[in-house]
């Protein structure tokens, strides 16, 4: 079967499942309400509404918080991707189909990514509000959104892998959340150790470290290497986890 047609068929089905459930609307509403409230508070707290101040007092912390909120959101969005298929034995239907395992994994990933981008897209209204007031540092905005998208990609791969481990969506969500939180808390380990090599190692493994580069608008090539290697590693784990069902 044509690689892209296979992915498109399954992604379309996944998206209709997402939009057919009230969960997505509740999560999107809650998420944007929280981000809107934070935006309002940062704006009120900013004393001088200059270009520099708006970036450092409003947008950088706001994007940082959006990244943090996705830590809670992604486990809920990804929890059903494989676990429910396992629970209702529909995964067997996919395995017996003409879809390859890669197509199955990528279609699930793509559906999760598109739904996350749908939720994220509503936050664009906040930089636009600032834009109407004369804010024009769009480079930082684009770079931060790019950082957020790449963060979401790493979170989703973890969610996809955890979902492939269990038939229970709650367990899948909790495992993903613990893993992502652990990855975020690695920053504390970085601060605690004085050994240079360990410091650099943990720093590299910690996802927020890479996001920070994007939020400052200075993207390094190792940030992209991290995202790619992280995605490949979790794709491999997910693939092995799914294969193990046949053993």
């Amino acid at each position: 079967m044509n690689f892209l047609r296979g992915i498109a068929l399954t992604t379309k089905k996944e998206l209709s499942d997402y939009f057919g459930s009230p969960l997505i609307y509740i999560l999107a509403g809650l998420f944007n309400a929280i981000v809107g409230w934070l935006f309002f508070n940062y704006l009120v707290d900013a004393k001088n509404l200059t270009l520099l101040n708006l970036s450092h007092s409003v947008l950088i912390p706001l994007f940082g918080n959006i990244n943090f909120l996705f830590l809670f959101l992604i486990p809920l969005l990804s929890m059903k991707l494989f676990s429910e298929e396992k629970k209702f034995q529909t995964l067997d239907l996919l395995f017996l189909s003409h879809l390859s395992q890669t197509q199955i994994i990528f279609s699930k990933f793509l559906a999760g990514l598109l739904i996350s981008l749908f939720i994220l897209s509503w936050t664009m209204v906040f930089p636009m509000i600032l834009g109407f007031s004369g804010y024009n540092d769009w480079g930082l905005v684009v770079s931060s959104y790019l950082g957020l998208v790449l963060s979401i990609i790493t979170y989703l791969w973890v969610g996809l892998f955890c979902s492939s481990l269990t038939e229970n969506p709650i367990i899948s969500a909790l495992t993903t959340f613990c893993f992502l939180l652990g990855m975020m808390l690695m920053v504390l380990t970085v601060n605690a150790t004085h050994i240079e090599i360990l410091n650099t190692f943990f720093q590299y493994l910690s996802s927020p470290f890479h996001y920070e580069s994007f939020s400052r608008g200075s993207i390094k090539n190792y940030n992209l290497v991290y995202i790619c290697s992280f995605s490949l590693f979790f794709y491999f784990l997910t693939s092995k986890s799914l294969e193990s069902r046949r053993w």
């Binding site: 079967m1 047609r5 068929l9 209702f88 034995q89 067997d92 017996l96 003409h98 053993w247």
Partner: protein
């Protein structure tokens, strides 16, 4: 006739527990083959291995002459599978689901619509095509399960307990559907309803504790298990005098017992005759009953049912065919 499925020395171990052990059997092309066994005997595991969802620990599977292990991608197109719990997306509409399955099972885009229509009609699902699968009755749910197994027009169809939990009317409809498929395709049917297997299947495989106990045409297995021929006769009158005369004439070779029953205000007698497999005394017995003016109403042979075969074959301490034959002789 060629074999559609050949299973050779198949073994499956789960954490050192043998679910299937050295299983060998074959299914003829174009036949409906019954796959029987008690709960936990390895039926579902075997079916999952035949369709490639589980990898065997040892042994070989051939479908249409091709080795499953090496031609899995090719054979996926030729196998349809209805597991014990049909793989259904509860939130989807029946029509959308069948269309989705047709798409992922490689039906060309130009033929999807036509194929979906055909399968909806064939499985009697036209009325419910716009209903959510989660809202369907169990009978319709099973039919949707069968439809997904057939939508890509496979040569070999594996049905694991297709009538599980269905009411008699739904069982009848499912049986009709399975009968319609006969000839076009090869069907391997696992079921607990032995009467259903008797009605549908020409060949059966009985397994127990992951091992094949019996495999072959139903008539052959029936004759193996049938120790003697049993006949039932209904007569208007019968008494001790006639019984004594019968014993005198046939006592050495036939065994007779009778009971009196009242049918619609009139007395009737039911005779139960047993004779050796090798001899045939039917005409002699009928002539005797006519001569004695017993008023013969009916005379028929009682063949051993699949239920009895299953009970004998899966009885404790009966695992090997040789042991079984010895125990019957």
């Amino acid at each position: 006739m060629k074999n559609a499925i050949e299973v050779k020395n198949l073994t499956k171990e789960f954490a050192q527990i043998k679910a299937v052990s050295n299983m060998t059997f074959s299914v003829k092309k174009g036949s409906i083959h019954g796959f029987l066994g008690p709960n936990g005997s390895g039926k579902s595991t075997t079916m999952k291995m035949i369709c490639g969802l589980l990898v065997p620990s040892a042994g070989e599977i051939f479908v249409g002459g091709l080795k499953l292990e090496t031609h899995f991608d090719q054979l996926k197109r030729r196998i349809g599978f209805l597991p014990e719990n049909p793989p259904l997306y509860q939130s989807m509409l029946v029509g959308d689901y069948i269309k989705f399955v047709a798409g992922i099972r490689g039906v060309p885009s130009s033929k999807v619509k036509e194929r979906v229509e055909t399968i909806l009609v064939q499985c009697g699902l036209e009325k419910v095509r716009d209903r959510r699968i989660g809202n369907l009755s169990l009978g319709y749910t099973q039919k949707v399960g069968v439809a997904q197994a057939l939508v890509h027009d496979p040569e070999v169809v594996l049905l694991d307990e297709p009538t599980r939990g269905l009411d008699p009317e739904a069982v009848d409809e499912m049986r009709k559907l399975i009968k319609e498929l006969k000839g076009e395709r090869t069907l391997l049917l696992s079921s607990h309803l032995l009467n259903e297997v008797q009605n549908l299947c020409s060949e059966i495989t009985i397994i127990k504790e992951g091992q094949v106990i019996q495999n072959g045409p139903l008539s052959e297995i029936r004759s193996l298990f049938q120790q003697q021929r049993v006949f039932k006769a209904e007569v208007r009158s019968f008494n001790e005098e006639v019984y004594q005369a019968f014993e005198l004439k046939f006592g050495d070779v036939l065994n007779l017992d009778y009971e009196k029953k009242k049918e619609l205000e009139r007395e009737e007698y039911f005779l139960n005759l047993k004779m050796p497999k090798s001899s045939d005394y039917r005409s002699e017995v009928c002539n005797f009953l006519v001569e004695k003016n017993c008023g013969l109403l009916s005379f028929s042979e009682e063949s051993i049912g699949v239920e009895e075969i299953f009970r004998l074959a899966t009885a404790k301490d009966v695992l090997k065919e040789s042991v079984l034959k010895e125990s019957l002789l």
